[in-house]
C-alpha cells in the first residue's frame, strides 16, 4: 500500500548537493597534500594522491549527473531550478580545476622551482578555505530552505562575503606569483608551466566564488 503523499515528495536535491560539496572538499584536502608533496623532490605519494582525486572527481560527476537526471520538468523546488543547476555547475568546476591543477603539476618533474615554491604553496593554502566554506554554505542552505530563517540567511551572507574575500586574496597572490615567475625564472618552458599552473589554481577560487554568488542569488528575498 502506498500513500499519495509519499509519491508527491521527492528527495530534496540539496541532500545530493551536500554529498557533491563534501566530495569537492575532500578533493581540496588531497590537493593541498599533493601540492606540498610535489614541492619536494622526493615525493612518492603524488601519483596515488592524484589518482584519489581523479576517483573523487568521477564520483562527484556521478552525483552531478544524478542530480541533473532527477530534476524533471514537473518538479517544484524552493529555488529556481536553473539557478540551482548553475550553482551545481560552478561547484563541479571547482573539482574539475583541482584535478586539472594536479595533472598540470604532473606534466613536469617533481620539485617546484625554489623561487616560487613557498608562494605557490601559499596560493594553494589560500584556495582551500573557499572550498571548505562552500561545503559549509551548502549545509547552511539545506537548513535555510527548510526553515527560511532570517538569521540563517544573515549567516549565509556573511559566509558568502568570506568566500569573496578569500577569492580576492587568491587573485592577488596569483598576480604576484605570475610576476615573480617572469622575474625570477629564466627557462621559458618553466615560466609557461608555472603561469598556467598558477592560473588553474586561481580558477579554483574563482569557481568557488561564482558558486557562492549563485547561492546569494538563490537566497535573495
Amino acid at each position: 500500500m502506498r500513500l499519495l503523499l509519499s509519491s508527491l515528495f521527492l528527495e530534496s536535491p540539496f541532500e545530493n548537493l551536500q554529498r557533491h560539496a563534501d566530495k569537492v572538499k575532500e578533493c581540496a584536502h588531497l590537493f593541498r597534500e599533493a601540492a606540498i608533496c610535489h614541492a619536494e623532490e622526493k615525493c612518492e605519494e603524488f601519483d596515488a594522491l592524484t589518482d584519489r582525486v581523479a576517483k573523487l572527481e568521477s564520483e562527484a560527476d556521478a552525483i552531478k549527473r544524478n542530480i541533473r537526471n532527477h530534476l524533471p520538468r514537473g518538479i517544484l523546488m524552493p529555488v529556481d531550478k536553473f539557478q540551482f543547476l548553475q550553482y551545481l555547475g560552478e561547484q563541479d568546476k571547482v573539482v574539475d580545476e583541482v584535478e586539472a591543477a594536479l595533472y598540470w603539476l604532473s606534466f613536469r618533474p617533481k620539485g617546484l622551482p625554489k623561487e616560487i615554491a613557498p608562494d605557490f604553496l601559499h596560493l594553494v593554502e589560500s584556495v582551500i578555505p573557499p572550498i571548505e566554506k562552500l561545503a559549509e554554505l551548502v549545509l547552511m542552505a539545506t537548513k535555510f530552505f527548510r526553515g527560511k530563517s532570517g538569521s540563517q540567511r544573515e549567516k549565509m551572507k556573511s559566509l558568502i562575503h568570506d568566500i569573496r574575500q578569500h577569492e580576492k586574496e587568491a587573485d592577488l597572490l596569483e598576480q604576484e606569483l605570475k610576476g615573480l615567475a617572469f622575474r625570477t625564472i629564466q627557462d621559458a618552458l618553466v615560466v609557461f608551466h608555472t603561469v598556467r599552473l598558477v592560473e588553474i589554481v586561481g580558477e579554483i577560487a574563482d569557481h568557488a566564488q561564482n558558486a557562492s554568488d549563485r547561492m546569494r542569488t538563490m537566497i535573495a528575498k
Binding site: L5, S6, I75, F145
Partner: protein, 416 residues
C-alpha cells in the same frame, strides 16, 4: 431476514468507512506524522476522536434525497427493494474502488467514488433521467475548485508565515504575535461549521449575523488562550522530542500548533467524509425498517458515531504502516509547512462542505501541499502526481458507475 440484511449492510458500510480511513485520513494525518509534530500513536488517537466528533457534530445527519441528492428517490417509491440493492451495490463498488486505489497509491476521491456508484445504479434502475445531472456538474466544478481552494489558502498562509514570521529578525517574537491569530482563524472556521451544521442537526437556526456575532467572540477567547499558551511555550523553551531536535525554535513552536491543525483536519474529515459510507447505509436501514422509500433519511447518532470510529479504525489497521514510512522518510514536511497544508486543507473542506460542493479530502490536501510548494516552501515536489490526480478524476466516476451498474444488475438478476 431483516437482521441479516442489516448485518451485511453494516459490514459493507464499515468496510467502506475503513477504506476511507486508510486512504483519505492517512493522507490527511500524514503531514503531521511527517513533520514529527505528533507520533504515529498520537495521530491514530487524534484521528479517531477528531473524526468521530466531526461526523457526530458537523456530519450529515440528513442525507438529502438519498445519498448526496444524485438521484430522485420518488422514482423508486414503488419498489423499495431496488433502492436497497442499489445502495448495496453502491457501497460495495465504492469500497472496492477506494480499496484498489489505496493498494495502488492512486489519488482517488472517496466522495467521487460513492457519487459515481449511486449514479451507476440510478441509471440502471430508473434510467438516465433519474440522475440529477446538475449535481454531477457541481462535482466536476469541485475537481477544480477544491485543490485550487486548498492551494490558495495554504499558499497564502505560508506566504504570510514566511514574510512575517520565518524571515524576520525576531521570529519567536513574531510567532508570539501571529500564532494566536492563526489559532483564532482555526477556531473561527471550526465554530462556524459547528454552528451551521451542528445546530442545523438540532433543528435550530439562529440566522447568519447572530451566528457570526456569536462566533467571533468565541474564537477570540480561544485566540486569547492560544496567546497565553504560546507565551508559556516560548518561556518553557518547548522541550523538543528527539525527531524535533534539528528544528528551529519557530518550527518547534509550530510543531505544537500542528497538533491543533491535526485535530482540525481530523474533524473536517469526519464532517465531510464519514457520510460517504454512512449515507447509503442509513438509506438501507430506512428501507428495511419502513419498507418505503423516504425522500430524506435521518442518520441516527449511533451510525455516525460508529462510522467515525470505523474510519479511525481503518487508519489504525491499514494506514499506520504508510504513515510510519512518511514519518521516517519524508523529511521535507516541517511543522510550519505541515501546519499551513493542513490549515488550508481543513478550511477548504469545511468551507466547500458548507457551500455544498462534494470535495475530496485527498485532492484538497494535495492542492494545499502544492500551494505551499508554489510559494517555494517545499524541498522537492513531484508535480507529475497531479497528472495522476487528473486521471483519477476522469477514471473514478466511470469506473464506479460501471462497477455499480454491474453489481446492481447481478444482484437484481439473482434476488429479484
Amino acid at each position: 431476514m431483516d437482521v441479516v440484511i442489516l448485518g451485511i449492510a453494516t459490514l459493507i458500510g464499515l468496510y467502506m468507512a475503513a477504506n476511507i480511513g486508510a486512504n483519505d485520513l492517512a493522507n490527511a494525518m500524514g503531514t503531521s506524522v511527517g513533520s514529527g509534530a505528533i507520533t504515529l500513536n498520537q495521530a491514530v488517537v487524534i484521528s479517531i476522536i477528531g473524526n468521530t466528533l466531526g461526523a457526530v457534530l458537523a456530519g450529515g445527519y440528513v442525507t438529502n434525497t438519498i445519498s448526496k441528492g444524485i438521484i430522485d428517490p420518488a422514482l423508486l417509491a414503488g419498489d423499495p427493494n431496488k433502492l436497497l440493492l442499489g445502495m448495496f451495490a453502491a457501497l460495495v463498488s465504492a469500497g472496492i474502488c477506494v480499496h484498489a486505489a489505496t493498494l495502488l497509491g492512486l489519488p482517488v476521491s472517496t466522495t467521487h467514488a460513492i457519487v459515481g456508484a449511486v449514479v451507476g445504479f440510478g441509471v440502471l434502475s430508473v434510467g438516465v433521467d433519474a440522475v440529477t445531472w446538475s449535481k454531477i456538474i457541481s462535482i466536476c466544478a469541485s475537481w477544480v475548485i477544491s485543490p485550487i481552494g486548498g492551494a490558495l489558502i495554504a499558499g497564502g498562509i505560508y506566504y504570510f508565515a514566511e514574510k512575517r514570521i520565518m524571515t524576520v529578525k525576531d521570529p519567536i517574537g513574531a510567532s508570539e504575535r501571529y500564532a494566536p491569530v492563526m489559532i483564532f482563524l482555526v477556531f473561527l472556521v471550526l465554530i462556524l461549521s459547528l454552528i451551521f451544521k451542528g445546530l442545523k442537526n438540532l433543528h435550530i437556526d439562529i440566522g447568519f449575523f447572530p451566528t457570526v456575532l456569536l462566533t467571533i467572540p468565541c474564537a477570540a477567547v480561544f485566540g486569547g488562550v492560544g496567546r497565553w499558551w504560546v507565551r508559556w511555550q516560548v518561556r518553557a523553551e518547548f522541550k523538543p522530542r528527539p525527531e524535533q531536535v534539528d528544528y528551529s525554535p519557530v518550527d518547534r513552536l509550530f510543531a505544537q500548533l500542528q497538533i491543533l491543525t491535526a485535530c482540525y483536519i481530523a474533524f473536517a474529515h469526519g464532517a465531510n467524509d464519514v457520510a460517504n459510507a454512512i449515507g447509503p447505509l442509513a438509506a438501507i436501514f430506512s428501507v428495511v425498517k419502513t419498507h418505503t422509500v423516504a425522500l430524506s433519511v435521518e442518520v441516527p447518532f449511533w451510525m455516525l458515531f460508529i462510522g467515525g470510529v470505523a474510519v479511525g479504525g481503518g487508519l489504525l489497521a491499514f494506514g499506520t504502516r504508510v504513515m510510519d514510512t512518511i514519518g521516517r522518510h519524508i523529511t521535507e514536511i516541517t511543522p510550519i509547512r505541515g501546519f499551513c497544508s493542513q490549515f488550508g486543507a481543513a478550511t477548504t473542506i469545511l468551507l466547500c462542505s458548507r457551500l455544498g460542493f462534494p470535495v475530496s479530502t485527498t485532492h484538497v490536501l494535495v492542492g494545499s501541499v502544492v500551494g505551499v510548494g508554489i510559494m517555494r516552501g517545499m524541498g522537492a515536489l513531484d508535480l507529475r502526481v497531479l497528472k495522476n490526480i487528473g486521471l483519477s478524476w476522469i477514471v473514478t466516476l466511470p469506473f464506479t458507475i460501471l462497477l455499480s451498474m454491474g453489481l446492481y444488475g447481478f444482484l437484481t438478476w439473482v434476488l429479484l
